[in-house]
């Protein structure tokens, strides 16, 4: 079985970030396994995040890629004013570390800053935090089985969509 190298881990994350930056949602969603978890916990105090999505609130919690496909449908529907003018986004990743590695699986920790220009509203802001990616290797290469987005600045200015983090 395949062992993920450090360099492959970096390139995988950078590749995912580029797909989000460029709004190539079909290719992006293909990076996830059909039963993938996509999870952005909320904060329950100044220093503690929610940890059990079934009994505590998350900002986003999806179990299953089809939820992400629904989000993409909404973005493209032409029926959502929040999606009408897409924000310009740039994902900058750093501190990429493979923190667990076994044949066919890997867990990667990284830091992200997403700089956003909300052209409609004429303002610029940023979301930042940490990612945890769990990858599995299958017929079509490495896929994301679980992605956790730990957003540090969680007071959301007006909207945050799946391409904003």
């Amino acid at each position: 079985m395949t062992l993920l190298t450090d360099r492959e881990a970096e390139l995988f994350l950078y590749g995912e970030a580029l797909l989000l930056d460029e709004g190539r949602y079909d290719a992006w969603v293909e990076l996830f396994t059909p039963d993938a978890i996509f999870w952005m916990p909320a904060w329950k105090s100044e220093s503690e995040q929610t940890s059990d999505p079934d009994s505590e609130l998350s900002l986003i919690y999806y179990h299953g890629r089809s939820n992400l496909e629904d989000r993409i449908k909404r973005i493209r529907s032409g029926m959502s004013v929040a999606s009408k003018v897409r924000l310009r986004v740039m994902h900058a990743l750093s501190n990429v570390m493979v923190i667990a590695r076994a044949p066919g699986t890997a867990t990667i920790s990284s830091c992200f800053i997403v700089n956003l220009v909300d052209v409609r509203a004429g303002r610029t802001h940023a979301f930042f935090g940490r990612y945890e990616h769990e990858l599995v290797h299958g017929e079509s290469g490495w896929r994301i089985s679980r992605k956790v987005i730990r957003l540090l600045n969680d007071v959301v200015p007006t909207l945050l969509d799946i391409y904003s983090i």
Binding site: P53, S55, S80, V156
Partner: protein, 447 residues
């Protein structure tokens, strides 16, 4: 004092079939400053839930208008509200959002207060060469002049000259009962608070919660997804309570819901929904009916958006949300939001409730961003212009009647006015209640 006369801001002439609001209410910074003083710092506002400080010495902090407050449960279990500022130099004595502390020590000069607000130590007092005037002053934490609880909901007023809390809430208490009675143990906030801001006036949120008219126009992308999910019945996506109900559909027949308005600016808009398994509450439908009667149980399953003027909204539609409106500027508002849920519900019901909540209510979900972006679009159009009057408070005028109707009678509710709506009525006249309460509180600040 503002240069405006009230009649220039609110054109309220029921006999002529006129109710209009001047855009200045949304765009004038001077009026906003008056609102902070006369509305948020001038009368009853919601400040939190008793469940946020359950044990002795538990506390949580917040703001009333611009004034920092602390709600603290004393050693002997009594909840009190104080100004969160040291009498000495004004430093906040508690910096955390919540916690447990028998004593609060001011971080600046160590003046110390207990959980009942009493001053327990002024550092080096005897060596301080204080004059007689200082000794005559009260060194305890200042109490918030009026503080009260109704069924776990906490309210306070910085202005002592206000009606009693029971009088203030009035008939709307029965609607808070429909929240509190969902469990014999009461309700709780699900861990995890979500905050967001939008660049528009706070009254955009105030109105939108009660605005049935926007749902099919602002949220078609979300509605489409719900419809597709209902068709496909996939297991790994969230099914919504809204998918199986008709009250918001343009071709529904007969009464679909309506609005109630109350004294002091409280309003409810509601939609008929059946007692169905789509709601997490269904698991205890029989128990609730036995405890409080079938009529009130059935009302709990209706879609209900309740506003307790000026800053509390409880929305029970796609899930159950408690939200607090915090105005920051005439064109900036912060929303503090929680999932509110009956204590002791099953793990499965809680999970469903949370999933439905995230999808619909979160600023990271599929509906709220369409609201907040629209608020900002409205705010742009609130700029001063030749035609100052908005046309958004006129629907339902001829359907509005004094008192209640058959649906309010079911639960012994006595609203000031009501509208029984067909699918396309989408009453806007309930907003009048907001602006009449606004006018009452703002009267002293206007010319």
């Amino acid at each position: 004092m503002s240069a405006y006369r009230m009649s220039e801001l609110i054109d309220d002439r029921p006999a002529d079939g006129v109710f209009r609001i001047n855009r200045a209410l949304f765009s004038d910074p001077e009026l906003f400053a008056l609102e902070q003083h006369y509305i948020f710092e001038g009368g009853w506002v919601f400040i939190g839930m008793a469940s946020q400080a359950l044990q002795p010495n538990d506390f949580f902090t917040g703001l009333i208008g611009r004034v920092p407050i602390i709600v603290s449960r004393s050693e002997d279990g009594v909840l009190n509200g104080f100004i969160n500022a040291c009498p000495h130099k004004g430093a906040r004595i508690a910096q955390q959002l919540s916690g447990n502390a028998r004593l609060h020590v001011c971080p600046y000069h160590s003046w110390t207060f207990d959980s009942s607000g009493a001053n327990r130590n002024i550092k080096w007092r005897s060596g301080g060469c204080y004059g007689a005037g200082f000794d005559r002053e009260d060194h305890d934490l200042a109490r918030i002049p009026r503080f009260g609880e109704y069924r776990g909901f906490l309210f306070a007023s910085l202005n002592p000259d206000v009606p009693s809390l029971d009088d203030y809430l009035g008939e709307a208490r029965k609607l808070l009962d429909l929240v509190a009675d969902q469990s014999s143990e009461g309700v709780e906030l699900v861990p995890g608070a979500v905050r967001f801001t939008y660049a528009a006036n706070w009254k955009m949120q105030l109105e939108n919660c009660s605005d049935q008219y926007h749902f099919t126009s602002t949220h078609p992308s979300y509605i489409r997804i719900l419809e597709a999910r209902a068709r496909e019945q996939k297991n790994d996506v969230v099914q919504s309570t809204l998918g199986g109900s008709d009250f918001w559909k343009e071709d529904a027949e007969g009464p679909t819901g309506g609005t109630f308005s109350f004294e002091h600016g409280h309003v409810l808009n509601w939609g008929l929904m059946a007692v169905t398994p789509a709601l997490p509450l269904y698991e205890r439908a029989d128990e609730i009916a036995e405890r409080i009667g079938t009529a009130r149980r059935n009302w709990m399953f209706n879609m209900r958006n309740l506003t307790i003027f000026p800053n509390l909204q409880i929305a029970e539609n796609a899930s159950s949300q408690l939200r607090v409106i915090r105005p920051i500027a005439h064109n900036l508002t912060e929303m503090q939001t929680w999932c509110i849920a009956p204590r002791g519900e099953s793990a499965e019901a809680r999970r469903t409730r949370i999933r439905q909540y995230e999808d619909f209510f979160n600023p990271t979900g599929m509906a709220t961003p369409d609201d907040t972006v629209v608020y900002e679009e409205c705010q742009m159009g609130m700029a001063r212009q030749e035609r100052p009057w908005l046309q958004g408070h006129a629907r339902g005028l001829t359907a509005s009647v004094e008192g209640g109707n058959a649906y309010s009678e079911m639960i012994g509710l006595n609203p000031q006015r009501s509208v029984l709506g067909q699918a396309q009525t989408c009453d806007e006249s309930l907003f009048h209640s907001y602006y009449r309460a606004w006018a009452t509180r703002m009267q002293d600040g206007l010319a």
